[in-house]
Symmetry: C2
Subunit: 403 residues, 2 copies
């Protein structure tokens, strides 16, 4: 049996702010908003919380270092408050910290909260982005932006599987088309506009072949989760959501840009998901996963992820995408909330924002008259991917309704 | 019963580099050195490690963000590698992450490693220290340095308990006198020099009343620990060290500089230690604690900590200090390795460096012919304190030889 925390902990409350250009909100405001919704949803008081985890990536341009921004914003009652930072998986790391603490017996109720305010400064608001990323990376970064890296990924994929630029761009646009359609229904999303396939394919190029709508936006936002022991969960609510798996993998030397990278898959996603499926006991993911939120920082990453998650066969995601397999009414709806595409990526918040969508959909409470998936949902998956310069960290979490 | 992880996990191997001005070592070199010693000590291979935690505070001037520096330096095998950052408790946070993971069943063997290289840049190597600390703090920091804050603490303490400046300085110098004596024996320490009481008391003033030798140095260093389930520990070694308690408290609004701070104690230390004693079942700390490593970033912090830990009665640490209670041959040796005073404070490393000393002393393996405490040691305590501008985060960990 694989090690893990399957069925040891449950989520009993979640909160998620609207994401967007929130000029009128400080990061502390967003923390308060996300927490308040989660606490109300769980029916807990602040003094019930035994420990908290705070995810933020760019503390330098945000509310500061350590657990202090979270503790201050909420006036937390002298409990442990731990900051985790692991690139784009930071939000999921906060969730993981809270889940491990509860599963270990260290506390009964834990808070995971992620927040990031990027619009005031952008990712590049720092005087020297390269140096912020550390010694080794400053030699790469000035010439290797995120869109540039994922543009390389798209070209590598097209080349490997014999797609022309036009074919490739159409497939990628179909991914964003679906996400924009979903995001348009979601009051919490930043970008709420349906876009035509024509508009998507003809958008200005950011890093060839990726156009403007292949890239997620830059937003402010926060999201929160309240975690308890699984055997306590029904005391708080009749429909808790159980953590079925929570896995992470950091591959130091096979990511985008590394000489050993094959250009068509992310090893860290593959490793994390294999572990997660094993932990949850999932053998046929294409049949068993009900819905997914994957890390669509760029449309090409969503495409690769379908394959790395073993939902689509390697090289065959194109068919699923064009068949509408991942659409809102498809077999496995993906980004039913609009994804990073429509939410943007306030880094600390994203992993928990994804879990929020899974949580609400599994409970049948995702804006019921507007965008609740009208079917029996069993297992939801979230996926994050981040890193830089050949090193990639990916997380996969699985959530379910039943013990 | 208080929640906790008492006796659930054990340390089976540790490593610690020499601390100092290590111009010839990169942070990656330090990571490799600390890990190599720990892995050899534990008798494990790199593929045995299920997950890792990496502590670094100033990623901006170090090897970079997230878990990547650790994963890269050691070529870790695609496992989860999580970065934690919580000011001066960062090292203990890495230990805490690893302990929770093992105690939760998420993995069987976990690595905690902290590293920081500060000599190349100093704490102030960043273009705008205030902004790095986040929005709220930039209004305070330009005028409130760490020595300045602890100078205020010393004056507040002297005033409260009626010590003249000369009496106060003599007490503080006595603390540093003891630490320098201990550090001089330790090949891993940065500053290895005994100092006379006269030299200590007449040192140049840094922030009145604190002189040069009331302040810890700035160093490079790394330390590592290998954690396994307690019931597996004896498979690895006959003398594992068990975690008896691991508690942390972040008080958002009672630390140095906050208007509600009383000037004579640290509430977060008090809360963390009360929880830790409860978790470990310690009722008479003065009788039950065998040795301690406390956060002596400044001598006055060590003094306050004696009281906050309930070893000395409030306001009475002076007598214990002057009686030699905390000396190498005293009742509770404190900073037997030399402390931050002689090691400096490479932030990510310090908490684990402290645990290293406790681990080795409890096992009777602390340079046996030179500086091993010649008595039966049962319980060791480590303590960290960090934060800024009225918010303070403190950790207390207890370690023991027997289950």
């Amino acid at each position: 049996m694989i090690s893990g925390i399957k069925n040891k902990v449950a989520i009993i409350g979640m909160g998620c702010t609207r994401f967007g250009e929130l000029w009128d909100k400080s990061e502390e405001d967003l923390i308060v908003d996300a927490y308040t919704e989660a606490a109300k949803d769980a029916g807990i008081e602040i003094n019930d919380i035994g420990a908290a985890w705070f995810a933020s990536c760019f503390d330098e341009v945000n509310a500061g270092k350590g657990g202090i921004p979270l503790a201050r914003a909420l006036s937390l009652p002298n409990i442990p408050v731990t900051r985790v930072e692991n690139f784009c998986t930071s939000g999921t790391e906060a969730l993981r910290g809270a889940c491990y603490a509860v599963a270990s017996g260290a506390c009964d109720v834990a808070l995971a909260l992620g927040a990031e305010k990027l619009k005031d400064t952008g990712y590049g608001g720092l005087p020297d982005f390269g140096s912020v990323m550390g010694s080794e990376n400053m030699f790469y970064l000035p010439n290797l932006t995120a869109p540039g890296m994922f543009g390389m990924v798209a070209n590598a994929y097209f080349s490997k599987y014999g797609l022309t630029r036009e074919e490739g761009k159409r497939v990628l646009s179909r991914i964003s088309y679906k996400s924009h359609k979903n995001g348009a229904m979601n009051p919490r999303a930043h970008l709420r506009k349906e876009l035509s396939m024509e508009a998507l394919q003809n958008a200005p190029i950011v890093a060839d072949p990726l156009g403007l709508f292949d890239c997620c936006g830059v937003s402010d936002g926060a999201a929160a989760a309240i975690i308890v022991r699984a055997d306590m969960a029904k005391k708080y609510r009749s429909d808790p959501i159980y953590v079925k798996a929570l896995q992470l993998s950091l591959t130091p030397a096979t990511g985008i840009g590394h000489q050993s990278w094959d250009g068509i898959h992310f090893e860290s996603t593959r490793v994390a998901v294999l572990q997660a499926y094993k932990e949850a006991g999932i053998t046929k993911p294409r049949d068993e996963i009900s819905l997914m939120e994957v890390h669509d920082c760029f449309s090409i990453n969503e495409l690769l992820t379908y394959e790395s998650l073993q939902i689509s066969p390697m090289g065959k995601a194109r068919k699923d995408i064009e068949d509408g397999f991942f659409d809102f009414d498809g077999q496995i709806p993906c980004q039913s909330d609009g994804g990073l595409k429509c939410f943007g990526h306030p880094i600390g918040a994203s992993g928990i924002r994804m879990a929020y969508e899974i949580y609400k959909q599994l409970q049948g409470r995702a804006e019921p008259d507007i965008r609740q998936l009208d079917r029996d949902l069993k297992i939801g998956l979230t996926h994050n991917a981040g890193g830089l310069c050949g090193s990639l960290v990916c997380s996969v979490a699985l959530f379910g309704k039943d013990l």
